[in-house]
Every structure is written in structure tokens, then in C-alpha cells.
């Protein structure tokens, strides 16, 4: 269900992703007193990556709470509040910090509903910033969605566009299951970071819900399928646009969520093109890229007219120095090379 509702406003209202995300949070907080937001530097600072700008002024410190540096403590607090029927949004500043609180996330947030035989719900959103590309080093540049997606019991979404940032956030807050909402720093449209022009785009005013679990065909094409998510969608579109000049028609699938994974959308596109490139800013092995490939082979490996190509961070920590980081990340150059390889 995608309710797109644009009443009075001009249909071309353009926002950056962070504003679109905050708009959804504010609307849900307005509508539902059980929604609150907590995390580090989400109050006066407005979120290090502008995930909460203006919320403190609007909703006050009872509903927008700065926490101590105690991720296990405050994520656990959110879980407990959710089991009592509140609808917390809790921010883990960087996904890279999951290691200090993963037990709360995967052994509690994600399992309580199951362990209780469905008697306890955990309606909460865990927001977290992901991604590299600005030399923040091995502990502040990871995507790690493969890790979250491997562990059952939580939905995992990662918007690429401002409109999806709003629509997926609305859906996440309203979802009765826990949702991990991963926003890439490079799609937020921050003034102080290099950004793809697509990180500022039209965002529906009013209520806007994007169903979690449905991929989006970001660009139609017929020669090759590029399956990806988050910032890499923008990179893939850059490459697709450029290759179209050579008559290569690339279809770009924006997964939007890894859990649920829209395997139908993947297979439908590969059935059409016969060629697959998976672009993943997370680590190569045991992650998203293999799962996308296996989604196809689970049904029919003969859909592949050529070996699928996986473009991801090779299995190394993310290096600091720019030439190394650029070589490690799935940027336009590597995506283009992969598409050409898939077409050989």
C-alpha cells in the first residue's frame, strides 16, 4: 500500500532526505503520544546526521531525549517501553556501534515476540546511520545491513530517496514489529558532505506510507539488472544513465528493504534481462550480494545467461586513506566495470 496524498502543496516540493525523514517522525509524534525519540545528541544537536532536526523544539525534552553513552541501556529501555505498548524510536548513532548493544537488538528486540508466542509485541524503530565515502575509517563507515538482515525477527529498511525516507519511516513507526531503519549519510543531503543530486527530490506532503518489503524499479531496462539499496541506488542510476548513451539498457532495482526481501522483484527482473549485477556497500561475503544471487538460483539458476557479478566492499575493514577507500567502496567506476562484465 502506497498512499500518496498531495493536497494543497505544489507537487514539486523538494526536500533533502533528512528533512523528509524528520517530517515523517514529526507527523507520527503529532498523531500518537506514544511515539518518542531517544538517542545520543538527538536533542539540541538535532542528530549528528540531522535525523532529528527541530524535534526537540517542537516536542520538548519529555519526548525527544538525549541519552548517556549507554547503548545497551537506552536501546533496552526502548524495548521495555515498546513491550508496554509505547512506540519508541531509538537511534544508534552509527551502525558501526552495534557491537556494544547487539544483544539487546538481536536477542531481545528481535526475539521477544516469538519467544512469547506472539503475546508480546515490540513496536519500535531502531534508526542508525550507515555508510562511508568521507574517510571516517574502519569503525565509522560500515553499512552492516547484512548482519542485521541475517538475524531473524527485525525488518531492515534502507531508503535511497527522500520520498522513500518519509514513506518508509511512516510505515516503520506504524509497524507492530521492530524495524531497523538505516539511513546512509550520503543520501541525507547534508550540506557538509558530498551528495548525489538525487538526495534532494520531490517528497509528497501529508501522509505518505511506503509498504515495507516491496522493491522499487528505480529505472527500467532490458539488458541487465542492477539490484542494490541505499546510496548505491544513486550510483547505479548514474552508471545506467551514462551507459544508456552507448545503448546499454540497465534496469535498476532499489530493494528498499532487506527484510523482507522482495525476491519476486529480483527474479522478475532477472527473468527479463538474464544478467545480474548486485551492488552492496556492505561486505562482500556472507551478505546481501550472495542472498540476492541465491534468490534467483533458489528458483532457477538457468535464468542467468552469464555469471552474476557482485560489487561490494571486499572482505577488508574500510580503509581511511581516500584512494584506498574509493577502491574498496562500490562506486560508479566499479559498478560500470561490473555491468560491462555481466554483459560479456
Amino acid at each position: 500500500m502506497t498512499v500518496t496524498d498531495r493536497p494543497a502543496q505544489a507537487p514539486t516540493r523538494r526536500l533533502n532526505t533528512s528533512k523528509a525523514m524528520v517530517e515523517a517522525i514529526a507527523a507520527e509524534m503529532e498523531a500518537n503520544p506514544e511515539v518518542f525519540y531517544l538517542g545520543e545528541d538527538v536533542g539540541a544537536y538535532g542528530g549528528i546526521f540531522s535525523s532529528t532536526t527541530g524535534l526537540l523544539d517542537r516536542f520538548g525534552p519529555q519526548r525527544v531525549l538525549d541519552t548517556p553513552i549507554s547503548e545497551t541501556g537506552f536501546i533496552g529501555l526502548a524495548i521495555g517501553a515498546a513491550t508496554e505498548g509505547m512506540r519508541p524510536i531509538v537511534e544508534l548513532m552509527f551502525a558501526d556501534f552495534m557491537g556494544v548493544c547487539l544483544d539487546q537488538i538481536y536477542n531481545h528486540m528481535a526475539k521477544i515476540h516469538f519467544e512469547s508466542g506472539g503475546n508480546v509485541k515490540v513496536p519500535m524503530v531502531l534508526t542508525t546511520a550507515v555508510g562511508g565515502g568521507y574517510s571516517d575509517g574502519a569503525q565509522h563507515s560500515q553499512c552492516l545491513w547484512g548482519t542485521f538482515a541475517h538475524l531473524p525477527g527485525m525488518k531492515v529498511v534502507a531508503p535511497a530517496t527522500p520520498a522513500d525516507a518519509k514513506g518508509l519511516m511512516t510505515a516503520a513507526i506504524r509497524d507492530d514489529s521492530p524495524v531497523v531503519y538505516m539511513f546512509h549519510k550520503g543520501v541525507m543531503g547534508l550540506p557538509w558532505m558530498v551528495k548525489n543530486p538525487r538526495s534532494i527530490d520531490v517528497v509528497p506532503a501529508g501522509e505518505h506510507v511506503v509498504e515495507i518489503g516491496k522493491a522499487r524499479v528505480a529505472r527500467e531496462g532490458s539488458d541487465v539488472t542492477i539490484v542494490t539499496i541505499s546510496l548505491s541506488v544513486h550510483h547505479a542510476l548514474d552508471v545506467a544513465e551514462q551507459l544508456s548513451n552507448e545503448g546499454i539498457s540497465a534496469e535498476v532495482i532499489d530493494l528498499r528493504s532487506l527484510v523482507p526481501l522482495d525476491r519476486d522483484a529480483i527474479c522478475a527482473s532477472v527473468a527479463k534481462t538474464g544478467r545480474l549485477v548486485v551492488v552492496d556497500e556492505d561486505y562482500l561475503s556472507f551478505g546481501m550480494s550472495a542472498e540476492v544471487v541465491a534468490s534467483v538460483t533458489d528458483r532457477d539458476p538457468s535464468l542467468f545467461k552469464a555469471p552474476p557479478v557482485r560489487v561490494a566492499v571486499p572482505d577488508i575493514p574500510i580503509p581511511y586513506a581516500r584512494p584506498l577507500e574509493y577502491a574498496a567502496l562500490p562506486r560508479q567506476d566499479r559498478i560500470e566495470e561490473a555491468v560491462r562484465k555481466a554483459l560479456r
Partner: protein, 337 residues
């Protein structure tokens, strides 16, 4: 609600009814665990195969620690929350979790609290806000959130968070106490010091004699109850619960208690030097003697309490055994709502 709690602080002032109630809770808990013990071992032979029988898996029994649960939970109603540990039965029972679905969960049946998905370390009862976790110290943070929800909604309900003394060395303990103290959340933290974290003694894990001293690190009151005595626990908890309900924030209580049996069933306890003296420290005969001396209990009343407990417990066990095993076809249920 908190008015007469301070008046009860000294055990001599407890009414006979209250003392009987405390004793009854302890007996109900012990009776339940003796029945679980019997059922657990009934069909594991020959040898001991942990995965066999009507109750498979790890089994952590709380016998000896009943005074803690009984003394704390006597101050609570079903509106209050309790988060417990891998060793949860006594707190579940003292807090009023219905023994039937609880037993059924331990037997892994469809009428269990978790429809057989959870097991004995994962008992969730929304009607009494009871929950637990098998990860040491990681049950603490949830109590903060429950307390947060209660206070945001303007109720005077509180949350009790329970762990063992071994858990007091885990990071989650520290983060939880700090955050609860900072936000003055209505939480009572309870540490059951049964001297052992599996085979590791308190001395081998904790460089100070009382975890109550850790309360000062968060600017909250801390008490250690040195005797494994339900009335002493009751008194300490009374103050803490009243403080939490009154908006005074959290309290830390450590109780020096006793692990009467092994860490889990199958634990030969070869590491435990005082093993033969342990049975003598059982708090139940001790409390029974006190109550008899005080004229609160006699043979008839004692027998009445025990047989009521036994009837209830055997009813719960029968209920559990009569409940169906979950259908394998439902294995994928309850992941998402």
C-alpha cells in the same frame, strides 16, 4: 499505597497474616520447583541426556532463593513489572504468574505462556508484566523501559529488575543503573547474591564484599540484606518500592541468599567446597521454625499451606501434560506481527 510501609520495616511488626503470606509464597515456589525437578529427571535416564524427556534443555532452579522473591513481590501488584533471569521461577510465582501456563511453557506446550516457543528461560506474561532473559544482566534494561512507560502514563506502577551477583559485573548492569538514576525511573534493582556464578565464586568475580556499595556510583541508595530472611528482604524492599512509587527514583538491594541446588540440573558442583553444609542453610525450615515459635504456624496450618500448594502445583503439571505439543507446521509463526 506507600503510607504504612515504613511502619512495617521492622519484622516484629509484621502481622501474622502477612508472615503467613510470605511463607506461603515460598512454599508455593519450592513445591513448584520440586515438581519440576521430579518431572525433569523422570525420563532422562539411562545416564543423563539433557535433551531428552518431557522437560528438555537447561534447567536453572531457584530453590533456596525464595525469600528474595517472596519479600520483594509482596509489595507489588499485577500492574507492576518484574524482569528476571535464567533462574526465573521464584520471581514469576511470587509475582503472581499463573502456574498453569507457566508449567505448560516449561513443558513446551501450546497452552504455555509462549505457546512452547520460549521455554523456562523465556517466560513472558503480559497480564503481570513479567518477563525474563537468559542473557546475564541483559534483562535489566527492559525494566527501565517498563518503568519509563508507567511514569509517562502517570501511573504509580514500578518495575523490579532482578539479577544474580555475577551479573553485577556486566556492562548492562552499569548502564542500567546509571540511566535509571539519571532519569529517576521507578525501578528497584535486586541482586540475588547466591555466592556463585555457575562455578565462579563471588570472591573470584567481584573485588568488593557488597554490591550495595555500587549504588553510590549512581547516587542512589543501596542496601545489602545479609541474612537470607524473607522479612529482612520485605523490609528493605518496602522502602525501595515506596521510594520508586513516590518518584524518588531507583534503589539497589543486594540479598545474600543461597543456591540450594546446582547451577543447573546436572551440575555436580565439584567446585563447591561447602557443599555438605548447604542443606542446613535452607531458608524454608528456618522460617517455618520462626513462625512456629511466634505462634503464627502450627502443624495444621503448615500442612494446609503445603497441601494447597501441592494441589495447585500438581494441577499445573497436569494441565501442562494435557496440553498439546505445538504443531511443526506452525514453526514459522510469530516472527512478525
Amino acid at each position: 499505597m506507600t503510607t504504612d510501609l515504613s511502619a512495617r520495616a521492622s519484622s516484629t511488626e509484621l502481622t501474622g497474616d502477612l508472615r503467613k503470606a510470605l511463607f506461603t509464597t515460598m512454599i508455593r515456589s519450592r513445591t513448584f520447583e520440586e515438581a519440576i525437578l521430579r518431572e525433569y529427571h523422570a525420563d532422562k535416564a539411562p545416564g543423563f541426556d539433557i535433551g531428552k524427556g518431557l522437560i528438555p534443555g537447561e534447567m536453572h532452579l531457584s530453590a533456596g532463593q525464595e525469600p528474595v522473591a517472596a519479600g520483594v513481590c509482596e509489595h507489588l501488584t499485577a500492574a507492576d513489572a518484574v524482569t528476571s533471569t535464567h533462574r526465573p521461577h521464584h520471581f514469576a510465582i511470587a509475582h503472581g504468574v499463573d502456574l498453569k501456563p507457566m508449567a505448560a511453557e516449561i513443558f513446551g506446550r501450546v497452552d504455555g505462556l509462549g505457546r512452547g516457543r520460549g521455554g523456562h528461560m523465556h517466560l513472558f506474561d503480559p497480564s503481570t508484566h513479567f518477563s525474563c532473559s537468559g542473557i546475564v544482566a541483559e534483562g535489566y534494561p527492559a525494566a527501565l523501559g517498563m518503568a519509563f512507560a508507567f511514569s509517562r502514563r502517570g501511573t504509580d506502577a514500578i518495575a523490579v529488575a532482578v539479577t544474580g551477583e555475577g551479573a553485577a559485573n556486566a556492562g548492562a548492569f552499569h548502564e542500567s543503573l546509571n540511566l535509571a538514576a539519571l532519569w529517576k525511573l521507578p525501578v528497584v534493582f535486586v541482586i540475588e547474591d547466591n555466592e556463585w556464578g555457575i562455578s565462579v565464586s563471588r570472591e573470584a568475580s567481584t573485588p568488593i564484599p557488597s554490591n550495595a556499595d555500587r549504588a553510590a556510583a549512581y547516587g542512589i541508595p543501596g542496601t545489602r540484606v545479609e541474612e537470607n530472611d524473607v522479612e529482612a528482604v520485605y523490609a528493605a524492599a518496602g522502602e525501595a518500592v515506596a521510594r520508586a512509587r513516590g518518584g524518588g527514583g531507583p534503589t539497589l538491594i543486594e540479598v545474600h541468599t543461597l543456591r540450594l541446588w546446582g547451577h543447573f540440573e546436572g551440575d555436580a558442583q565439584g567446585y563447591r567446597p561447602d557443599l555438605d553444609q548447604v542443606p542446613d542453610r535452607d531458608p524454608i525450615p528456618r522460617y517455618e521454625a520462626t513462625l512456629r515459635d511466634a505462634g503464627v504456624l502450627d502443624d495444621a496450618v503448615g500442612e494446609q499451606i503445603r497441601s494447597a500448594a501441592s494441589i495447585e502445583v500438581e494441577g499445573a503439571i497436569a494441565f501442562a501434560k494435557a496440553s498439546a505439543e505445538p504443531d511443526p507446521a506452525t514453526v514459522l509463526d510469530y516472527v512478525f506481527v
